[in-house]
Subunit: 175 residues, 2 copies
DNA sequence: GGAAATCTACTCGGATACCGCGTGTCCGAGTTATGGTGG
DNA sequence: CCACCATAACTCGGACACGCGGTATCCGAGTAGATTTCC
């Protein structure tokens, strides 16, 4: 098991598909089926990104999601915090003040300042967040684009609009 | 909720009490009651530290735990890994190869190398582990000792041996 | 008096329940494009 | 020909189960020490 759940992974991958000038917003179902993951689950992740101001949702039959900022302004840290809820690395319970010798009256010297163990964890947490905060969605997209063939972006766009038109044709109001 | 569970906290606090030249090993029950936490729970954490070679257990009626190495050689990272099991920060599921356009045949360029998202997570994980690996139990103990009054170490030792003798007197073979 | 046997209490260690969060799914409210209709 | 309207499908968003890991607890096997007993 890992510290970050799969929601973070899905969320980041969805954002990668939203990079670049999309003609129309991409719905959560399209994003899910494009990646071969559960649409219901993706539909629960994207609203979190919207509340955090990372994506912007359009409603209605041709609605969907767009990025709410430039990819270079969306850090991986912001995405993780939006989905996981800013959970700290460590939750100090102030064990140091419960020593049996104190008999319930913890002296001031024992509880002053930050617990030594907590301090290490805070440094490690800060170090991790610093690394995540220095990488943006634009960096990720650049790495991906460097590997994919040049035509790939167009193929993705075609697939998305092809889905939209296929739906329109499959469900005509009257034949 | 935090990424590290309370087991890590208990384990590190227990190790802090074991720093310094103890006359006798400290049992898990003594360590638990000294800190005012559940003895049953502490008794489940310490064996993990023993398997990792961090503490060494003595059996029998006067048994208990001692450090298996110098405090300056026990890193916080080793303790965390021993208790939590080296769980990675991120578990990449290779979503990039599931793109619907590939129809199950992921091209080589899409799966070569390390996933961009995974790479960021690996850097962050490494950064965190680096910070945890640079702090030792000796560092923690030094910080605590700087705040506690000089007599505190002796009081702890007295409390521990006092418990042992109290047990011996409370349970005499014959009154 | 000394040594061996026994016995007890205490220790570790693992196997066992309970709980909460994360994962995954489903259904309802709202909105937009569309096709029909009337002027 | 144009504007309006009713319809229907699709969208988001939140409320509902399932499973698993973590938390907390208990009990059994094993051992060191102390007492008793025998020589």
């Amino acid at each position: 098991m890992a510290h970050f759940g799969s929601s973070v992974e899905y969320g980041l991958h969805c954002l990668l598909w939203l990079v670049g000038p999309l003609a129309e917003p991409a719905s959560s179902r399209d994003l899910a089926e494009l990646q071969g993951v559960s649409p219901s689950f993706v539909a629960k992740i994207l609203p979190k990104l919207e509340k955090a101001g990372i994506v912007r949702a359009s409603e209605g039959v041709r609605g969907g999601y767009r990025l709410a900022a430039f990819p270079s302004e969306i850090t991986v840290l912001a995405v993780v915090d939006a989905i996981e809820g800013k959970k700290p690395l460590f939750d100090c319970r102030e064990i140091r003040g419960r020593c049996a010798l104190f008999r319930g009256r913890a002296p001031a010297w024992s509880t002053d300042g930050v617990c030594a163990i907590h301090a290490v964890m805070l440094r490690a947490d800060q170090s991790m967040r610093n690394e995540l905060g220095h990488t943006t969605v634009a960096d990720l997209a650049k790495t991906v684009a460097r590997k994919a063939p040049p035509s790939f972006g167009g193929e993705i766009r075609n697939w998305l609009v092809g889905r939209a038109t296929a739906r329109a044709e499959r469900a005509p109001r009257r034949s």
